[in-house]
């Protein structure tokens, strides 16, 4: 083929090295380093020694005889362990949200795929439309709905129940996740299901399968790739979100994303720790994704068995 054309990718490869590879390497570098104080003789100072020197020089105008150098450390990664409960809580909430998205989205995607072509187009557009709205605005709207004297509580009030405490709960955070990421579940499911032909389903019915067996033996196995990518597309952004929890969780239900944000742009400024948490989050998500890939492979194994 055209050898010279390969060079067209040159500028992009340079770009990729600078803006994809180097930043990820930097996360690793920050995660495993810290700025440590050294004295004039290049001896590393302990916290007490540093405090003593600071006290000594507190009265004078002289500059501290201390220089900071970047040194290797395990401390950042080790101190992530104290935030593991936050990581597990985020994963747990994201898992619930993903499950709800799958339960709501699966039947809808199936119904959609059996519509006439023109209706399919319309429904698909209607599902994508909210995604085009700024997600902060959509989440903000839920604040209005869920408030103590918000619209939902008013409707409850009309039938004489409530008011319920809905905003600033973990449930509200899960709701925000489901709302924002539901289309990411429906669309991949739908695109797989449109490929399941009615003939396949009819064939199963003709061969004596009841509607439940048609569903478990034909529709679900054939839609497995859609399920896998839907789960990934909902879980990854849900587990790493930091806005939804802040707006609907009221700041008390901290997620791993909030924690990272705090280290970089928040009060707890500590990019080294932030990088360490990001690294752990990245590894965690890669592990989760390899599990969902298994889901997909499991399907292939089954096809093998059928042969």
């Amino acid at each position: 083929m055209n050898r010279k054309s390969r060079w067209a990718a040159g500028p992009y490869i340079l770009w990729m090295i600078i803006f994809v590879i180097v930043p990820l390497v930097l996360i690793g570098v920050f995660a495993f380093t810290t700025d440590a104080p050294f004295d004039e003789n290049s001896k590393r100072l302990t916290q007490e020694e540093l405090a003593a020197i600071e006290e000594e020089y507190a009265e004078t105008d002289e500059e501290l005889p201390v220089t900071y150098k970047t040194v290797f450390t395990w401390d950042n990664i080790l101190s992530v362990s104290q935030y593991l409960p936050v990581l597990f809580n985020s994963a747990w909430l994201a898992l619930i949200a993903t499950a709800i998205c799958l339960i709501i989205g699966y039947p809808l995607a199936y119904f959609m795929s059996r519509f006439r072509a023109s209706s399919q187009r319309l429904v698909q557009m209607l599902i994508m439309l909210p995604m085009w709205m700024n997600f902060l605005l959509r989440t903000y709207a839920w604040m209005t709905l869920l408030e103590k004297n918000g619209w939902i509580n008013r409707i409850f009030g009309l039938i004489g129940v409530g008011p319920f405490e809905m905003i600033n709960t973990q449930g509200a955070v899960v709701l925000g996740m489901v709302y924002n990421y539901l289309p990411f579940m429906i669309l991949p499911l739908y695109s797989v299901m449109t490929k399941i032909e009615n003939h396949t389903i009819e064939a199963a019915q003709d061969l004596g399968a009841g509607s439940i067996r048609v569903f478990t033996k034909v529709v679900i196995p054939l839609s497995m790739p859609g399920i896998a990518s839907g789960i990934t597309m909902v879980f990854v952004p849900a587990v790493s979100t930091f806005i939804i929890s802040r707006m609907l969780g009221g700041g008390t239900n901290m997620l791993i994303g909030d924690l990272i944000d705090l280290q970089f742009l928040g009060n707890a400024y500590n990019p080294n720790l932030g990088a360490a948490i990001s690294l752990v989050l990245m590894v965690f998500i890669l592990l989760c994704m390899s599990i969902t890939n298994q889901l997909d492979n499991g399907d292939e194994e089954m096809e093998g068995k059928m042969l």
Binding site: N2, A8, V123, L126, M133, L137, A141, L265
Partner: protein, 266 residues
């Protein structure tokens, strides 16, 4: 009965998807400043919105960043796709896997990693950092859209053009480019969409001098919220709806003459 249950289910899902948007629209006409009390109909928030300089300025920033980033991404990504397409298999899959990292990675990690990059190079946070960050998450979408078009293209077309006396550049502009154009355009449009919609990555790479609309909305939702936000969301909703309808109508129109043409050829 079964059909009714099915339709009711679909209705409920759409109610869930559109209820918050409805609330925003209704409240944008609400004279009362409270979110849950109806105080009469008004257009006030719209006129106030149009005089809000912060919002207008950030709207301009959003559009400038989206346009510049998308144009550069499209050029960079199209060239990259052509180069990648002509590579040997191992090299190609290596480059592609690295390219998809920004898509697979959680947005917050991409944002933070770019922030560390800019901090390490001691860059001022502003237009430049925003545009650089946006390009880096837009390029993969361009490559993703152009590569399939290259695969579909008949390889012999270029050889034919070269045999007939075109130089490489002419062969590219007269043969390759028209063939891959639909992918290039889709890639560009996706870049614009993602760039306009982005919050997380802009959040970590913006400066006080350049704030996108998302960032402004974020700072508005953190303080006591003004109903101007509702008016803004209504306008955005109407704009998006209009664009979608136009695109769909144009699509439908474009699809029908095509069928006709095919019929004539056959």
């Amino acid at each position: 009965m079964k059909k009714f249950a099915k339709n009711f289910y679909i209705f409920l899902v759409f109610l869930f998807l559109y209820a918050p948007i409805g609330v925003l629209i209704v409240n944008s006409f609400n004279a009362s400043k409270s979110r849950s009390v109806w105080g009469g109909f008004t257009f006030d928030w719209y006129s106030k919105l149009l005089h809000d300089e912060t919002i207008l300025k950030s709207l301009v920033t959003t559009l400038v960043v989206a346009l510049v980033a998308s144009v550069i991404s499209t050029l960079l990504g199209t060239a990259a796709a052509i180069g990648i397409f002509n590579m040997k298999k191992n090299m190609r899959s290596l480059i592609l896997n690295i390219s998809y990292l920004p898509i697979i990675n959680p947005e917050i990690v991409t944002g933070v990693s770019l922030m560390l990059l800019f901090v390490s190079f001691k860059m001022d946070f502003g237009y430049i950092t925003l545009i650089l960050a946006h390009i880096s998450f837009c390029v993969p979408y361009v490559i993703l859209n152009v590569l399939p078009k290259l695969r579909q293209m008949d390889k012999h077309l270029i050889e034919a053009a070269l045999d007939l006396g075109c130089n490489r550049w002419q062969a590219f502009t007269k043969v390759t480019l028209p063939e891959i154009m639909p992918g290039v355009i889709t890639g560009f449009l996706m870049s614009v969409t993602y760039s306009v919609d982005d919050f997380v990555i802009s959040y970590f790479t913006h400066g006080s001098k350049a704030q996108t609309l998302s960032i402004t909305i974020y700072s508005m939702t953190r303080r006591k919220v003004s109903p101007k936000v509702n008016a803004l969301s209504t306008l955005i909703f109407v704009a998006v709806l209009t664009i979608l309808i136009i695109v769909n109508v144009a699509d439908a129109k474009r699809n029908s003459p095509k069928k006709y043409k095919k019929g004539v050829k056959a």
